[in-house]
């Protein structure tokens, strides 16, 4: 059988070597292509959104069609109301569920809860909106902030549950053991030691859920506004504000997790 030389082999094996290089180059390429549009979007956000970003954006009401300037104060207030309502629904339930899963969650019930929460997070926002319609709008006879709040709350719930669970799990076991050794009943340990220890993380994670929910509300508030050029300018700035909030909070969350985990 002919043996290819150990140096610069020709023919068959070189084909494999070339193919290997092509594949690896393609992976570099894929990485570049993936990052590219994301970088483009961020760039556009900054380029188009920054100019209009000023105090006026937050405080002023929109001007009539054709007039430049003005802000999105009403939209922002509306967003805050909806998001506030959603938080009111989602945070107590979500944190409670998250704590339960972290502290008592080992059986089949807990697995089912986790799985269902994951499923819930995959439900399209429009479907949740439709459900809220039936649940709130119809009985109340019309669209209202409550309906929006309920929908948002449902959307926020899975995220809050999951991140609360993770935050509580990160609390070192030694905290619990120390408290138990001092004679504290289980529930006090959880309520007075574990939850406060995880509080920073829980708050940050909830804020993240809130920020994401705010992202969902924004379009709802554009109903009734038709002028497109005005919207054009404002949209970018609004989008920029949203993104800044979300990425800022995400980064803080990451850092919090790392700090807690290193304790």
């Amino acid at each position: 059988m002919s043996r290819p030389a150990l140096t610069r082999a020709a023919g068959h094996i070189n084909r494999r070597a070339i193919w290997s290089r092509i594949v690896i180059a393609a992976c570099y390429g894929a990485g570049a292509i993936v990052v590219l549009p994301l970088a483009l979007i961020v760039w556009h956000l900054l380029a188009k959104g920054l100019p209009a970003l000023s105090l006026s954006f937050f405080l002023d009401m929109p001007k009539p069609v054709g007039e430049p300037g003005g802000g999105m104060a009403n939209a922002i207030v509306g967003t805050l109301i909806l998001v506030g309502l959603g938080t009111l629904f989602a945070v107590p339930v979500g944190v409670g569920a998250g704590v339960y899963l972290a502290e008592f969650g080992r059986g089949r019930f807990s697995s089912l809860v986790r799985y269902t929460a994951d499923l819930l997070s995959g439900v399209p926002s429009i479907v949740v909106g439709v459900a809220a319609y039936g649940l709130v709008v119809l009985p109340m006879g019309g669209f209202s902030a409550l309906a929006g709040g309920v929908a948002l709350g449902i959307l926020m719930l899975p995220t809050i549950i999951r991140s609360t669970e993770e935050m509580v799990r990160l609390v070192p076991q030694s905290y619990r053991e120390a408290a138990l050794a001092l004679g504290a009943p289980r529930w006090k340990v959880t309520q007075q030691v574990v939850i406060p220890a995880a509080r920073a993380g829980i708050v940050t994670a909830s804020m993240l859920a809130v920020a994401r929910a705010a992202g969902e509300t924004a379009p709802l508030l554009f109903y009734g506004r038709t002028p497109y050029d005005d919207w054009n300018r404002q949209a970018w700035t609004g989008a920029l504000v949203l993104v800044m909030m979300v990425t800022g909070i995400s980064a803080v969350l990451r850092l919090t997790v790392r700090r807690v985990a290193q304790r």
Binding site: A30, A97, Y100, P124, V127, L157, L208
Partner: protein, 310 residues
Amino acid sequence: MKAARITADGLYRAALGGAAALVFVVVALIVFEAARGSGLSIRTFGLGFLTSTAWDPVSEKFGALPYIYGTVVSSALALLLAVPLGIGSAVYLAEIAPRRVGAIVSFVIELLAAIPSIVYGVWGFFVLAPWLRTAIEPWLIAHVGFVPLFRGYPFGIGMLNAAIVLSIMVVPTIVSISREVLLSTPRSLREAALALGATPAEAIGVALDAARPGILGAVILALGRALGETMAVTMVIGNTNRISASLLDPAATMASIIANEFTEATTPLYISSLIEIALVLFAITIVVNGAARVLVYWATGGRRSAAALA
């Protein structure tokens, strides 16, 4: 003394457990409302609803086919773009890039996954659409317009735009889960392959082969996201009830038609039809997401951090 004592511990646990159980209640409520609301439409149109292309609020004839078609096609196209790019990027990040670079870039990609969908919609409408309209689509029409896929008028918005925007939105999911699955395969596999005389790409192939179930889960998860994506798609897909073979034409998805017309739906049957579409969408995403989570959970040995990209 084995009496049923109500203890503070027990109460506390029950209270928290109740909060956890509310998750089931919420899901049940959604199902219930969707089913109830679509009752009228189901009774009126029966199964034909799913195959009819009618959409006339005036004569009250409704059919979901164009929207099912639009949802399926836009998601499939999005995956066609996102899967090779996503897996290729994951391979780069997990196998090729130096560890620091890989960690930083994937951190950035994960952060970008948190961008609200409306931002993608805004970008798609104000940036991508003009670009498609003036540069890409005319080129496609001129050079490959004989293929039905690329025939038509350059609107800028439509199926192609939606597919591109969707693929950008789901790529981070594929990248981060695939990367994590690849990182969890033992290094010894690649060493064994290389020691047998494999090229670097072939050794990576062994790792990919081992990571296949997890990657599959990531892809299905991405599919679930694409199917349910509402805001961004609504803004760029054009919203028409005509089914067209061309990617350049406008289309609509189940999510987009509901988003567009729900607030203007006037008659009970109109509303009920839209709700039925929501029900169908709900069913599809539940099934797809359910399958995906199981696969990812199983393949990453229970690590959920990657699956936490909602």
